[in-house]
Subunit: 195 residues, 2 copies
DNA sequence: CACCCTCCGTAACAAGCGTTACGGTAACAT
DNA sequence: ATGTTACCGTAACGCTTGTTACGGAGGGTG
Protein backbone atom coordinates (compact mmCIF):
# COMPACT_ATOMS: atom_id res chain seq x y z
CA UNK A 1 0.00 0.00 0.00
CA UNK A 2 1.00 3.61 -0.33
CA UNK A 3 1.53 5.46 2.90
CA UNK A 4 0.82 9.19 2.84
CA UNK A 5 4.45 9.67 3.75
CA UNK A 6 5.46 8.19 0.41
CA UNK A 7 3.25 10.55 -1.53
CA UNK A 8 4.50 13.50 0.50
CA UNK A 9 8.09 12.46 -0.07
CA UNK A 10 7.44 12.21 -3.79
CA UNK A 11 5.86 15.64 -3.83
CA UNK A 12 8.90 16.98 -2.04
CA UNK A 13 11.28 15.33 -4.49
CA UNK A 14 9.32 16.77 -7.41
CA UNK A 15 9.38 20.20 -5.82
CA UNK A 16 13.13 19.92 -5.46
CA UNK A 17 13.27 19.05 -9.14
CA UNK A 18 11.27 22.20 -9.84
CA UNK A 19 13.87 24.22 -7.97
CA UNK A 20 16.69 22.57 -9.90
CA UNK A 21 15.16 23.26 -13.29
CA UNK A 22 14.30 26.80 -12.29
CA UNK A 23 17.86 27.47 -11.11
CA UNK A 24 19.67 25.84 -14.00
CA UNK A 25 17.39 26.26 -17.00
CA UNK A 26 15.20 29.21 -16.08
CA UNK A 27 11.50 29.83 -16.05
CA UNK A 28 11.01 29.42 -19.79
CA UNK A 29 12.29 25.82 -19.73
CA UNK A 30 10.32 24.91 -16.61
CA UNK A 31 8.18 22.29 -18.29
CA UNK A 32 6.59 19.17 -16.85
CA UNK A 33 8.93 17.05 -18.93
CA UNK A 34 12.00 18.91 -17.69
CA UNK A 35 10.88 18.51 -14.08
CA UNK A 36 10.24 14.80 -14.61
CA UNK A 37 13.68 14.37 -16.15
CA UNK A 38 15.31 16.23 -13.26
CA UNK A 39 13.43 14.02 -10.80
CA UNK A 40 14.40 10.86 -12.67
CA UNK A 41 10.88 9.82 -13.53
CA UNK A 42 8.34 10.31 -16.30
CA UNK A 43 5.63 12.88 -16.82
CA UNK A 44 3.13 10.20 -15.83
CA UNK A 45 4.28 10.22 -12.20
CA UNK A 46 4.21 14.01 -12.08
CA UNK A 47 0.66 14.21 -13.38
CA UNK A 48 -0.49 11.46 -11.02
CA UNK A 49 0.97 13.34 -8.06
CA UNK A 50 -0.37 16.77 -9.03
CA UNK A 51 -3.57 17.59 -10.91
CA UNK A 52 -1.75 19.97 -13.22
CA UNK A 53 1.40 22.00 -13.73
CA UNK A 54 0.21 24.96 -11.69
CA UNK A 55 -0.44 22.81 -8.62
CA UNK A 56 3.11 21.52 -8.89
CA UNK A 57 4.51 25.04 -9.00
CA UNK A 58 2.36 26.17 -6.10
CA UNK A 59 3.50 23.23 -3.99
CA UNK A 60 7.13 23.90 -4.83
CA UNK A 61 6.69 27.57 -3.96
CA UNK A 62 5.16 26.85 -0.59
CA UNK A 63 7.77 24.24 0.21
CA UNK A 64 10.48 26.77 -0.57
CA UNK A 65 8.98 29.15 1.94
CA UNK A 66 8.57 26.48 4.63
CA UNK A 67 12.14 25.32 4.16
CA UNK A 68 13.65 28.77 4.49
CA UNK A 69 11.45 29.46 7.49
CA UNK A 70 12.73 26.37 9.24
CA UNK A 71 16.31 27.28 8.45
CA UNK A 72 15.82 30.81 9.72
CA UNK A 73 14.18 29.65 12.93
CA UNK A 74 17.12 27.36 13.61
CA UNK A 75 19.53 30.25 13.08
CA UNK A 76 17.46 32.44 15.34
CA UNK A 77 17.36 29.83 18.09
CA UNK A 78 21.10 29.24 17.91
CA UNK A 79 22.04 32.91 18.19
CA UNK A 80 23.59 34.14 21.41
CA UNK A 81 22.17 37.67 21.31
CA UNK A 82 19.41 39.62 19.57
CA UNK A 83 21.94 41.39 17.36
CA UNK A 84 23.62 38.11 16.45
CA UNK A 85 20.21 36.67 15.59
CA UNK A 86 19.41 39.67 13.39
CA UNK A 87 22.71 39.42 11.57
CA UNK A 88 22.49 35.65 11.09
CA UNK A 89 19.00 35.86 9.66
CA UNK A 90 19.91 38.70 7.30
CA UNK A 91 23.09 36.92 6.26
CA UNK A 92 21.28 33.81 5.06
CA UNK A 93 19.06 35.99 2.89
CA UNK A 94 21.96 37.04 0.72
CA UNK A 95 23.69 34.99 -1.98
CA UNK A 96 27.04 34.22 -0.41
CA UNK A 97 27.61 30.64 -1.57
CA UNK A 98 26.36 28.33 -4.35
CA UNK A 99 23.49 27.11 -2.20
CA UNK A 100 22.05 30.49 -1.27
CA UNK A 101 22.77 31.72 -4.79
CA UNK A 102 20.61 28.93 -6.16
CA UNK A 103 17.83 29.81 -3.75
CA UNK A 104 17.97 33.40 -4.86
CA UNK A 105 17.65 32.42 -8.53
CA UNK A 106 14.72 30.18 -7.69
CA UNK A 107 13.12 32.97 -5.69
CA UNK A 108 13.48 35.30 -8.66
CA UNK A 109 11.98 32.72 -10.97
CA UNK A 110 8.91 32.27 -8.80
CA UNK A 111 8.52 36.03 -8.53
CA UNK A 112 8.63 36.40 -12.30
CA UNK A 113 6.15 33.57 -12.68
CA UNK A 114 3.84 35.24 -10.15
CA UNK A 115 3.30 38.23 -12.42
CA UNK A 116 0.58 36.42 -14.32
CA UNK A 117 -0.64 34.08 -11.57
CA UNK A 118 -2.93 35.41 -8.86
CA UNK A 119 -2.35 32.50 -6.53
CA UNK A 120 1.42 32.64 -6.81
CA UNK A 121 1.47 36.37 -6.15
CA UNK A 122 -0.82 35.80 -3.17
CA UNK A 123 1.61 33.26 -1.72
CA UNK A 124 4.50 35.63 -2.30
CA UNK A 125 2.72 38.41 -0.44
CA UNK A 126 1.76 36.26 2.52
CA UNK A 127 5.26 34.86 2.83
CA UNK A 128 6.97 38.20 2.34
CA UNK A 129 4.79 39.93 4.92
CA UNK A 130 5.56 37.21 7.42
CA UNK A 131 9.23 37.61 6.57
CA UNK A 132 9.00 41.34 7.13
CA UNK A 133 7.25 40.92 10.48
CA UNK A 134 9.96 38.54 11.58
CA UNK A 135 12.62 41.10 10.81
CA UNK A 136 10.77 43.88 12.52
CA UNK A 137 10.62 41.68 15.58
CA UNK A 138 14.33 40.97 15.38
CA UNK A 139 15.21 44.64 14.95
CA UNK A 140 12.96 45.60 17.86
CA UNK A 141 14.68 42.99 20.03
CA UNK A 142 18.09 44.29 19.00
CA UNK A 143 17.20 47.93 19.74
CA UNK A 144 14.70 47.88 22.56
CA UNK A 145 14.56 51.64 23.02
CA UNK A 146 13.62 52.55 19.44
CA UNK A 147 10.23 53.95 18.47
CA UNK A 148 8.10 51.75 16.23
CA UNK A 149 8.62 53.98 13.20
CA UNK A 150 12.36 53.66 13.36
CA UNK A 151 12.15 49.90 13.81
CA UNK A 152 9.97 49.65 10.73
CA UNK A 153 12.14 51.85 8.53
CA UNK A 154 15.40 50.15 9.52
CA UNK A 155 13.87 46.70 9.13
CA UNK A 156 12.60 47.69 5.71
CA UNK A 157 15.98 49.04 4.69
CA UNK A 158 17.71 45.85 5.79
CA UNK A 159 15.18 43.58 4.11
CA UNK A 160 15.36 45.48 0.85
CA UNK A 161 19.14 45.59 0.93
CA UNK A 162 19.64 41.86 1.49
CA UNK A 163 16.94 40.93 -1.00
CA UNK A 164 18.47 43.26 -3.56
CA UNK A 165 22.05 42.14 -3.11
CA UNK A 166 20.91 38.52 -3.33
CA UNK A 167 19.41 39.21 -6.75
CA UNK A 168 22.46 41.16 -7.91
CA UNK A 169 24.90 38.53 -6.67
CA UNK A 170 22.85 35.72 -8.17
CA UNK A 171 22.99 37.42 -11.56
CA UNK A 172 26.67 38.41 -11.35
CA UNK A 173 28.53 36.39 -8.71
CA UNK A 174 31.94 37.63 -9.84
CA UNK A 175 30.99 41.26 -9.27
CA UNK A 176 29.39 40.63 -5.88
CA UNK A 177 31.62 38.20 -3.97
CA UNK A 178 30.57 36.92 -0.57
CA UNK A 179 32.93 39.06 1.47
CA UNK A 180 31.66 42.25 -0.17
CA UNK A 181 28.10 41.31 0.70
CA UNK A 182 29.07 40.63 4.30
CA UNK A 183 30.98 43.88 4.63
CA UNK A 184 28.04 45.70 3.08
CA UNK A 185 25.74 44.15 5.67
CA UNK A 186 28.07 45.00 8.55
CA UNK A 187 28.49 48.58 7.30
CA UNK A 188 24.71 48.98 7.18
CA UNK A 189 24.22 47.50 10.65
CA UNK A 190 26.86 49.84 12.05
CA UNK A 191 25.33 52.82 10.25
CA UNK A 192 21.91 51.99 11.68
CA UNK A 193 23.41 51.66 15.14
CA UNK A 194 22.97 47.89 15.27
CA UNK A 195 26.60 46.86 14.96
CA UNK B 1 10.92 54.97 -49.36
CA UNK B 2 11.72 53.72 -45.88
CA UNK B 3 14.20 55.79 -44.00
CA UNK B 4 16.30 54.00 -41.41
CA UNK B 5 14.52 56.17 -38.87
CA UNK B 6 11.28 54.38 -39.70
CA UNK B 7 12.78 50.98 -39.07
CA UNK B 8 14.34 52.24 -35.86
CA UNK B 9 11.02 53.66 -34.76
CA UNK B 10 9.32 50.36 -35.48
CA UNK B 11 11.93 48.50 -33.51
CA UNK B 12 11.35 50.90 -30.65
CA UNK B 13 7.58 50.44 -30.80
CA UNK B 14 8.00 46.67 -30.79
CA UNK B 15 10.36 46.88 -27.84
CA UNK B 16 7.77 48.92 -25.99
CA UNK B 17 5.26 46.20 -26.79
CA UNK B 18 7.69 43.70 -25.29
CA UNK B 19 7.77 45.75 -22.10
CA UNK B 20 3.98 45.91 -22.00
CA UNK B 21 3.52 42.18 -22.39
CA UNK B 22 6.25 41.46 -19.87
CA UNK B 23 4.68 43.80 -17.32
CA UNK B 24 1.08 42.73 -17.77
CA UNK B 25 1.23 39.07 -18.80
CA UNK B 26 4.58 37.89 -17.51
CA UNK B 27 7.52 36.09 -19.04
CA UNK B 28 5.62 32.90 -19.81
CA UNK B 29 3.16 34.70 -22.07
CA UNK B 30 5.86 36.73 -23.80
CA UNK B 31 5.29 35.25 -27.26
CA UNK B 32 5.83 36.77 -30.67
CA UNK B 33 2.08 36.77 -31.22
CA UNK B 34 1.40 38.55 -27.93
CA UNK B 35 4.01 41.21 -28.76
CA UNK B 36 2.52 41.71 -32.21
CA UNK B 37 -0.96 42.06 -30.73
CA UNK B 38 0.30 44.59 -28.17
CA UNK B 39 2.00 46.55 -30.95
CA UNK B 40 -1.11 46.44 -33.13
CA UNK B 41 0.47 44.53 -35.99
CA UNK B 42 0.97 40.94 -37.08
CA UNK B 43 3.74 38.48 -36.46
CA UNK B 44 4.88 39.09 -40.02
CA UNK B 45 6.06 42.60 -39.22
CA UNK B 46 7.85 41.42 -36.10
CA UNK B 47 9.74 38.72 -37.95
CA UNK B 48 10.64 41.09 -40.77
CA UNK B 49 12.06 43.58 -38.27
CA UNK B 50 13.99 41.04 -36.18
CA UNK B 51 15.58 37.79 -37.35
CA UNK B 52 14.05 35.88 -34.43
CA UNK B 53 12.44 36.17 -31.02
CA UNK B 54 15.73 36.35 -29.13
CA UNK B 55 16.92 39.34 -31.16
CA UNK B 56 13.68 41.12 -30.32
CA UNK B 57 14.21 40.47 -26.61
CA UNK B 58 17.83 41.58 -26.74
CA UNK B 59 16.87 44.81 -28.48
CA UNK B 60 14.13 45.51 -25.95
CA UNK B 61 16.54 44.81 -23.11
CA UNK B 62 19.17 47.19 -24.42
CA UNK B 63 16.60 49.89 -25.14
CA UNK B 64 15.39 49.58 -21.55
CA UNK B 65 18.88 50.22 -20.32
CA UNK B 66 19.47 53.16 -22.68
CA UNK B 67 16.17 54.73 -21.69
CA UNK B 68 16.82 54.54 -17.97
CA UNK B 69 20.34 55.84 -18.50
CA UNK B 70 19.02 58.88 -20.30
CA UNK B 71 16.47 59.51 -17.60
CA UNK B 72 19.07 59.20 -14.89
CA UNK B 73 21.48 61.53 -16.63
CA UNK B 74 18.77 64.15 -16.91
CA UNK B 75 18.05 63.83 -13.20
CA UNK B 76 21.73 64.08 -12.42
CA UNK B 77 22.16 67.20 -14.57
CA UNK B 78 19.14 68.88 -13.02
CA UNK B 79 20.27 68.33 -9.43
CA UNK B 80 21.50 71.32 -7.44
CA UNK B 81 23.99 69.46 -5.26
CA UNK B 82 25.86 66.14 -5.23
CA UNK B 83 23.64 64.85 -2.45
CA UNK B 84 20.50 65.89 -4.27
CA UNK B 85 21.79 64.14 -7.39
CA UNK B 86 22.47 60.97 -5.41
CA UNK B 87 19.03 61.00 -3.85
CA UNK B 88 17.25 61.72 -7.14
CA UNK B 89 19.03 58.91 -8.94
CA UNK B 90 18.34 56.44 -6.15
CA UNK B 91 14.73 57.53 -5.94
CA UNK B 92 13.96 56.76 -9.56
CA UNK B 93 15.34 53.25 -9.05
CA UNK B 94 12.54 52.39 -6.63
CA UNK B 95 8.93 51.58 -7.49
CA UNK B 96 7.07 54.62 -6.23
CA UNK B 97 4.44 55.06 -8.97
CA UNK B 98 2.77 52.96 -11.68
CA UNK B 99 5.44 53.87 -14.20
CA UNK B 100 8.47 52.91 -12.14
CA UNK B 101 6.57 49.89 -10.84
CA UNK B 102 6.11 48.71 -14.40
CA UNK B 103 9.79 49.19 -15.11
CA UNK B 104 10.66 47.15 -12.07
CA UNK B 105 8.44 44.27 -13.19
CA UNK B 106 9.99 44.41 -16.65
CA UNK B 107 13.46 44.47 -15.13
CA UNK B 108 12.60 41.37 -13.08
CA UNK B 109 11.25 39.62 -16.16
CA UNK B 110 14.42 40.22 -18.13
CA UNK B 111 16.51 39.04 -15.20
CA UNK B 112 14.50 35.82 -14.98
CA UNK B 113 14.82 35.34 -18.73
CA UNK B 114 18.57 35.89 -18.50
CA UNK B 115 19.06 32.76 -16.37
CA UNK B 116 19.12 30.57 -19.46
CA UNK B 117 20.46 33.10 -21.98
CA UNK B 118 24.16 33.90 -22.04
CA UNK B 119 23.73 37.07 -24.06
CA UNK B 120 20.96 38.46 -21.87
CA UNK B 121 22.95 37.79 -18.72
CA UNK B 122 25.97 39.45 -20.33
CA UNK B 123 23.92 42.55 -21.06
CA UNK B 124 22.62 42.60 -17.52
CA UNK B 125 26.13 42.45 -16.10
CA UNK B 126 27.47 45.20 -18.32
CA UNK B 127 24.55 47.47 -17.55
CA UNK B 128 24.54 46.73 -13.85
CA UNK B 129 28.28 47.32 -13.52
CA UNK B 130 27.90 50.66 -15.27
CA UNK B 131 25.02 51.45 -12.94
CA UNK B 132 27.16 50.56 -9.94
CA UNK B 133 30.04 52.74 -11.13
CA UNK B 134 27.66 55.64 -11.59
CA UNK B 135 26.47 55.33 -8.02
CA UNK B 136 29.98 55.02 -6.66
CA UNK B 137 30.81 58.24 -8.47
CA UNK B 138 27.74 59.95 -7.03
CA UNK B 139 28.51 58.78 -3.51
CA UNK B 140 32.13 59.91 -3.86
CA UNK B 141 30.94 63.33 -5.01
CA UNK B 142 28.55 63.56 -2.07
CA UNK B 143 31.20 62.58 0.49
CA UNK B 144 34.50 63.84 -0.82
CA UNK B 145 36.52 62.91 2.25
CA UNK B 146 35.63 59.23 2.38
CA UNK B 147 38.11 56.46 1.65
CA UNK B 148 37.42 54.36 -1.42
CA UNK B 149 36.36 51.34 0.60
CA UNK B 150 33.67 53.24 2.40
CA UNK B 151 32.39 54.75 -0.85
CA UNK B 152 32.12 51.30 -2.36
CA UNK B 153 30.35 49.72 0.60
CA UNK B 154 27.85 52.54 0.99
CA UNK B 155 27.16 52.67 -2.73
CA UNK B 156 26.62 48.90 -2.73
CA UNK B 157 24.28 49.13 0.21
CA UNK B 158 22.23 51.84 -1.46
CA UNK B 159 22.08 50.06 -4.80
CA UNK B 160 21.02 46.80 -3.22
CA UNK B 161 18.43 48.51 -1.05
CA UNK B 162 16.73 50.42 -3.86
CA UNK B 163 16.86 47.44 -6.21
CA UNK B 164 15.41 45.23 -3.50
CA UNK B 165 12.62 47.56 -2.48
CA UNK B 166 11.71 48.05 -6.12
CA UNK B 167 11.19 44.31 -6.50
CA UNK B 168 9.25 44.06 -3.24
CA UNK B 169 7.04 47.03 -4.04
CA UNK B 170 6.42 45.79 -7.57
CA UNK B 171 5.22 42.45 -6.19
CA UNK B 172 3.17 43.95 -3.35
CA UNK B 173 2.39 47.65 -3.91
CA UNK B 174 -0.10 47.79 -1.03
CA UNK B 175 2.50 46.66 1.50
CA UNK B 176 5.23 48.99 0.20
CA UNK B 177 3.64 52.35 -0.55
CA UNK B 178 5.67 55.16 -2.07
CA UNK B 179 6.09 57.20 1.10
CA UNK B 180 7.48 54.24 3.01
CA UNK B 181 10.07 53.69 0.29
CA UNK B 182 11.05 57.35 0.39
CA UNK B 183 11.32 57.40 4.15
CA UNK B 184 13.36 54.21 4.00
CA UNK B 185 15.73 55.87 1.53
CA UNK B 186 16.05 59.02 3.64
CA UNK B 187 16.65 57.01 6.80
CA UNK B 188 19.42 55.10 5.05
CA UNK B 189 21.02 58.26 3.67
CA UNK B 190 20.97 59.83 7.13
CA UNK B 191 22.37 56.69 8.71
CA UNK B 192 25.22 56.61 6.20
CA UNK B 193 25.91 60.31 6.86
CA UNK B 194 24.64 61.42 3.45
CA UNK B 195 21.44 63.12 4.59
C1' DC C 1 -4.27 -19.86 -8.82
C1' DA C 2 -7.43 -16.16 -9.84
C1' DC C 3 -8.95 -11.63 -8.76
C1' DC C 4 -8.53 -6.92 -7.93
C1' DC C 5 -6.67 -2.71 -6.93
C1' DT C 6 -2.99 0.68 -6.92
C1' DC C 7 0.69 2.76 -9.19
C1' DC C 8 3.02 4.66 -13.07
C1' DG C 9 5.34 4.37 -17.70
C1' DT C 10 3.87 4.92 -22.72
C1' DA C 11 1.72 6.95 -26.17
C1' DA C 12 -1.40 9.86 -28.07
C1' DC C 13 -4.10 14.25 -28.42
C1' DA C 14 -5.21 19.25 -29.32
C1' DA C 15 -3.36 23.68 -28.71
C1' DG C 16 0.09 26.98 -29.01
C1' DC C 17 4.77 28.01 -30.13
C1' DG C 18 8.74 30.08 -33.35
C1' DT C 19 9.69 30.31 -37.90
C1' DT C 20 9.23 30.19 -43.02
C1' DA C 21 7.30 30.90 -47.53
C1' DC C 22 4.09 32.89 -50.46
C1' DG C 23 1.33 36.57 -52.43
C1' DG C 24 -0.69 40.95 -52.71
C1' DT C 25 -0.22 45.98 -52.33
C1' DA C 26 1.61 50.42 -52.72
C1' DA C 27 5.16 53.58 -54.08
C1' DC C 28 8.79 54.89 -57.01
C1' DA C 29 11.37 54.94 -61.53
C1' DT C 30 11.32 54.92 -66.39
C1' DA D 1 1.31 52.86 -68.34
C1' DT D 2 4.48 49.44 -66.98
C1' DG D 3 8.10 47.15 -64.52
C1' DT D 4 10.54 46.93 -60.18
C1' DT D 5 11.19 46.89 -55.56
C1' DA D 6 10.27 47.09 -50.66
C1' DC D 7 7.07 46.01 -47.31
C1' DC D 8 4.10 43.11 -44.61
C1' DG D 9 -0.26 40.39 -43.83
C1' DT D 10 -1.71 35.38 -44.35
C1' DA D 11 -1.22 30.87 -43.94
C1' DA D 12 1.20 27.03 -43.30
C1' DC D 13 5.11 24.08 -41.42
C1' DG D 14 7.31 21.27 -37.70
C1' DC D 15 7.98 21.14 -32.96
C1' DT D 16 7.00 21.38 -28.04
C1' DT D 17 3.70 22.05 -24.62
C1' DG D 18 0.09 20.48 -20.94
C1' DT D 19 -3.04 17.03 -20.41
C1' DT D 20 -5.54 12.59 -21.04
C1' DA D 21 -6.23 7.71 -21.78
C1' DC D 22 -4.60 3.21 -22.04
C1' DG D 23 -2.19 -0.80 -20.48
C1' DG D 24 1.00 -3.47 -17.96
C1' DA D 25 3.50 -4.57 -13.60
C1' DG D 26 3.32 -5.75 -8.81
C1' DG D 27 1.41 -7.01 -4.47
C1' DG D 28 -2.20 -8.04 -1.37
C1' DT D 29 -6.65 -11.14 -0.71
C1' DG D 30 -9.99 -14.82 -1.51
Amino acid sequence: MSLPADRAAQGEALSRAVWDVLAQQGLEKLTVRAVAAAAGCTTGLVMHRFPNRRALLLHARQLLHDTTRQRVEALEAAATSPRAALRAVLRQGMATDPETTNWSIVWLGFLAAAVADAELIGMHRRNNRAWRQRLERLVAAAATDWPVDQVGMVALGLIAMTEGVAALAAADPAAYPADQQERMLDAALVAYGLG
